[in-house]
Symmetry: C2
Subunit: 460 residues, 2 copies
């Protein structure tokens, strides 16, 4: 029934989606504040029109969050929170766009516009799915809440305190993120892990000022050399991170985990070409992809001190600095790892210099969800039906702070249920979204809602 409704109303839904895409809701630019607000209003209005109740535009201190719910499925049914965002990246450089970024243009079965894929295509599909179900069955198979936000492209700075304040309102059994990628146009994926993040900055101070290397050579500890030794101490000669306690909380990969990772296509030579390196490098006993997806990393992001100009300056520098970040995996706690780094650096501080370590601002927690989680199994069934192929279980080396935030604040895992493909020029000129995925997305959400109705997500 809902399938017929989706078909019958496809052109209207599509036009509505294009209306949203036309709003230049760039969250990072002050001159587009009103446009972000306008996109929030469009979203609230559209939720209400779909039959969602209690819709409100909630202030966060920054760009707003749009809430709405439909909670009449009964207490024995799970509550799903749907996450997406209505803000977009800036569109410059405008001259590199083939058609204007906020005038969506259809070519070759694709909609070209800023935000067409990230994330307005994702945002509308569950709303239209809700309308189709409510119009055809007068009810939804599960309880549904929406958390649609307007500051994702600037890092969602107000979202964690906002969510902590509104835990009750957003309480749910599961989150579905409509801000997610699929592996390719024809291959689906589910994301079961994201990395966390922490940062420290090291400052090594030696003599009061830069010294003449002749007059004072051989006399003091060189801060640059001291820093190089500290950095060299972070890893054993075979490439393993040597910070004491670093791996203590790491959830080790099982044989099954490693099989799932190995099942995902990986073209080593092509990847090397892409990066421009001759060899991969990293922790021993793990594959390149395992290191990238499922092992914590420690990276020097920047390092500097002394003379950087042309030619020679025979100076013993007064100071040396480095910036270090770690990407973390479950169950590493970013604050604890920060402390381990600080302890390690202090322990390896050479004689004759002062070493200060400062924790960076902002951390992210890692995320890990069992691929056998009932919600993943159901999502996998739906994706298999939609794509004709079962999804890859993927781990992501990067950090998506909202997902561990939902885990922390709401106690809910998040399934990846978005329709973007990585080649769609996200954050770049000529962003596009595939029309096939617009249809697939609406159908997918209807199927997901129906199948989750019988799932035990811990709500019983």
């Amino acid at each position: 029934m809902w399938q017929q409704y989706l078909d019958d109303n496809h052109d209207r839904f599509f036009e509505e989606y294009l209306d949203l895409v036309r709003i230049p809701s760039i969250s990072s630019l002050p001159e587009h504040m009103a446009d972000v607000e306008k996109a929030a209003e469009w979203t609230a209005t559209r939720l209400t029109a779909a039959g969602i109740e209690n819709v409100e535009i909630m202030p966060t201190g920054g760009h707003p969050v749009v809430y709405g719910d439909w909670l009449h499925a009964g207490d024995d049914k799970p509550t799903l929170l749907i996450y997406a965002h209505f803000d977009v990246q800036p569109a410059d450089p405008y001259e590199l766009w083939d058609t204007p970024p906020f005038e969506p243009t259809i070519r070759d079965g694709r909609v070209y516009a800023r935000g067409a894929s990230d994330d307005k295509g994702g945002l509308v599909t569950p709303i239209f799915a809700v309308e189709a179900l409510l119009q055809t069955t007068k009810k939804l198979p599960i309880n549904i809440k929406f958390c649609l936000e307007g500051q994702e492209e600037i890092g969602s700075p107000q979202l964690p305190p906002f969510m902590a304040e509104h835990k009750e309102k957003f309480a749910c059994d599961l989150v579905a993120s409509a801000d997610g990628l699929q592996w390719s146009e024809t291959e689906p994926m589910l994301v079961v892990a994201l990395k966390g993040l922490c940062a420290v900055e090291i400052s090594v101070r030696g003599p009061k000022g830069d010294l003449h290397s002749g007059l004072h050579g051989g006399v003091i500890q060189n801060p640059l050399e001291a820093l190089a030794n500290i950095i060299a101490s972070f890893r054993t000669t075979d490439g393993k991170i040597a910070v004491e306690g670093f791996f203590d909380e790491v959830v080790e990969l099982t044989a099954e985990d490693r099989e799932k990772i190995a099942a995902v296509p990986f073209d080593g030579p092509a990847y090397k070409d892409q990066l421009g390196v001759t060899d991969f490098y990293g922790e021993p006993d793990y594959t390149t992809r395992e290191r990238n997806w499922a092992r914590p990393t420690l990276e020097i992001n920047g390092m500097w001190g002394g003379f950087q100009g042309d030619g020679t300056k025979t100076v013993l520098p007064s100071e040396a600095h480095a910036k270090v970040t770690c990407r973390l995996v479950a169950n590493q706690d970013p604050h604890q790892i920060e402390q381990l780094l600080i302890d390690h650096i202090k322990k390896h501080a050479p004689v004759g210099v002062t070493v200060d370590v400062r924790a960076g601002r902002g951390v992210a927690y890692p995320f890990l969800m069992d691929s056998d989680h009932p919600a993943n199994q159901i999502a996998a069934e739906v994706l298999t039906e939609l794509y004709g192929q079962s999804p890859y279980f993927v781990r992501v080396g990067g950090s998506v702070p909202v997902i561990p935030m939902f885990q922390k604040e709401l106690g809910a895992d998040t399934i990846n249920f978005g329709w973007t493909v990585g080649d769609e020029n996200l954050h770049a000129p000529n962003e596009f979204f595939r029309l096939a995925n617009f249809k697939r997305g609406m159908r997918g959400y209807c199927m997901l809602f129906e199948r989750l109705a019988t799932a035990d997500l811990g709500n019983k």
Copy 2:
């Protein structure tokens, strides 16, 4: 006899010296080219007036050299080449001078002016000494040549090719540098060693561009970490330089050398305070002063790569760079040490990155002269008489390229025979020269000429 002449003509000599000091012969500033020329002409005229023959202003391609000789002492007498320079440092910032830098002012037994001490006070003393001897004895006890130059303060760039071209003209048995320091107002010194210099620049290249540390973390060798490991490899954990072959040509200190060094006053706590460090650091088994004066050093002058701004940027940098110089001692060859550094760096280049090493422009050779050399013994006698205390035998951590150049091009050692004291604001506002040293210098050169007449400097 000459002593009486010096006393009788003191005021005239002093006025002549002030005339030279009034010429703003700043070699680094194009607008003072004519002044450097004027100082050369003053010098040539004054040499001739003193009775020096064959005086000429010789072109070098840059600022000129003034040559002159008196070679009638006989073949059995040594030939001494006297070195000094008539150019000066810039005088800015002018507002920090108590009196104008090129209007010499006498206060408290000192002449305040740019160049008063470095090196016009040094330059005139042997000229006036020659005049005193020729006027009173009608001859000089030894053969004398002058090499007075105008580009010392810009590093004497044209001097090495100039000297190589005019080896015959400047051929001598010994050089006396009137561009030299004494330990203090009351304590003389002789310099028996200077350090050489060589430089390399390291560039480590990894991926084509900076990478996202989440998307590509754990995959590649980080160029900054690779560089830190290379730098850490330069030294053993106990502080000794670990570059293979680095010490092979080093002339080890004898027990007597170490005694001479230990005899020179050294106030460790005051020196630490001056530098602002809590501890000295360096090669084990040598004292701080031995390391500074008599042991080769390897120093990182600068190091950089990746993100240096405020906050956090989770980037894997594409490149990392470092600048390295070594101060060398006899008999290390700077070109050979450069090659050892290059070999070491290549050998320690980690997998997954490309490491380029480039030798820096310009090297300096080390200088070492036996403190028992007959010229040093004679100079020591003269200094002991002048100061009432025997000189310290000092080694210098810095490089003075002209001195090893004389050794290389003319096969002649150089004795330190200048009158500057380190506290005289060289290269700084309110430079001054002590009147007592003006007198002492003229007397000292007369005594040196007389005593060298009986020395065997290899000329026999």
